[in-house]
């Protein structure tokens, strides 16, 4: 089923709901995603830029962690936002904008993984030796005075361990842990029931735990 078909059409916002100011009313107003999407559907580019500004950090974080490369992530985010703008009239429930734009980005990431070049790069990335593990597990951490470098090492270990997970488990964990989506929302984005999402996260977390244990990393180390 198409992602958009899962969402019923929203009631059309009235002028007041869409933030049209009456005389004497306060000027400052924060628009909901639904209100901004309604404006976008009327061709308001500024409203779309508000939406982009609101969710670009989450979107970039998700794509960046999925692809493992900042430059590719920028390209995908840009493409996803352009696609969102050009197809905004198809989004029937504006409050789902965040899920929708992550769904678009996820599909673009999948397209990249399907390309031969991307597969090569991902394999190369996953085959990297997990050299930071030793630094953390050997106890040499106490000799290091650079807390920033230590944090960077931990970050690389986690990145490497998560990269070993099957794509659907990694995607579910990223959307849940880093982007804050609920199981239902992840189900909408990935096209599976919420229970399946929880299953994927469960097995993903277990596999991650096993991978970190194999590298000699305990929760207290991170």
């Amino acid at each position: 089923m198409d992602f958009l078909e899962q969402f019923p059409p929203p009631p059309r916002p009235t002028g007041d709901e869409r933030g049209i100011r009456r005389p004497g009313e306060a000027r400052v107003q924060t628009f909901t995603d639904g209100e901004l999407v309604a404006r976008c559907q009327d061709g308001d580019v500024a409203a779309f830029n508000q939406l982009a500004s609101r969710w670009e950090s989450s979107l970039y974080g998700f794509v960046r962690r999925t692809l493992g490369d900042g430059e590719d992530a920028r390209d995908v985010c840009q493409e996803a936002l352009v696609k969102a703008w050009t197809n905004i009239s198809r989004l029937r429930d504006g409050e789902k904008f965040k899920s929708w734009v992550h769904y678009i980005a996820l599909n673009l990431c999948r397209d990249r993984f399907r390309s031969p070049r991307a597969r090569t790069e991902v394999l190369a990335f996953e085959d990297e030796p997990a050299e930071p593990t030793e630094a953390i597990a050997s106890g040499s951490r106490s000799d290091s005075s650079d807390a920033g470098a230590e944090a960077a090492s931990r970050s690389r270990v986690l990145e490497s361990a998560l990269a070993e997970l099957p794509a659907e488990q990694r995607t579910a964990i990223l959307l849940r842990e880093f982007q804050g989506f609920t199981s239902d929302e992840i189900g909408e984005i990935t096209g599976v029931p919420a229970a399946t999402v929880r299953t994927r996260i469960y097995y993903g977390l277990r596999a991650l735990r096993k991978s970190l244990d194999a590298r000699g990393i305990a929760a207290s180390d991170v």
Partner: protein, 256 residues
Amino acid sequence: MNERMDPRIDKLMAYLYGELPESERRAFERLLGEDAELRQEYEELAGTRAMLPAWRIEERVPSFVLVEDRPEPKRATFWERFVASWKVPSPAWGLAFATIALVVAAAAGLRVQKIDGGLAFRFGEEAAAPVRSTVPELGPGQELALRENPDRSVLVPATADWVTREEMDNQNAELVMALTKALNDYGQRRDAETYGLVQSMAQQLRDEQNRDYRQITGRLDTMGLEVLAARNGVSLEDLLHNGAELNPERPLEGKE
């Protein structure tokens, strides 16, 4: 991967992420207290979750801004480019060359007429005194005249008097400014090329003015018919094509 799950584990994950309804949450917490294996599973999962925030993205998040497509800027006409290429002369030079311009323009057939307290500049032979555009009172046969006379001049005289003061002022201002600038350049160069350009421009001005004149009078012609139709309580379509009768008791004033 086996994606079927033990219902207890499903509840465990829902509990881990705060997605369990309140009624089920309390029951599940009781179960956690009683089942050591389940509790250990929960603690391991929670511990693994707690490690994840250590994965940081160090680079700055780029900002994405959609830029609205804007229409291509209107391409300047030859005349606009020509005018823009001239420097504005000092007021004294401007006055001097404006005078010269008027003299030259007068030699080329420019006439100045006083109309409604202002000045009108025209080329060509002097026309008959402008007719105050009072549409003649309509008689019983004038509907036929409307149909038989394609240019409808019987009902709406197309005279220069229909040109508004504002339109005329704009035309006059452009005319004087353009000639001033052209002659200013000719005064400095005194070359045949610039002189040819001035002559060419003067011809272009004549053509432009004639064309504008036709456009304006054509538009006013239609407006006059609309007024005529409105005064008689019929539509323009009926007036032109369906033989709507005009009321001879309601004479028209040509200029509203």
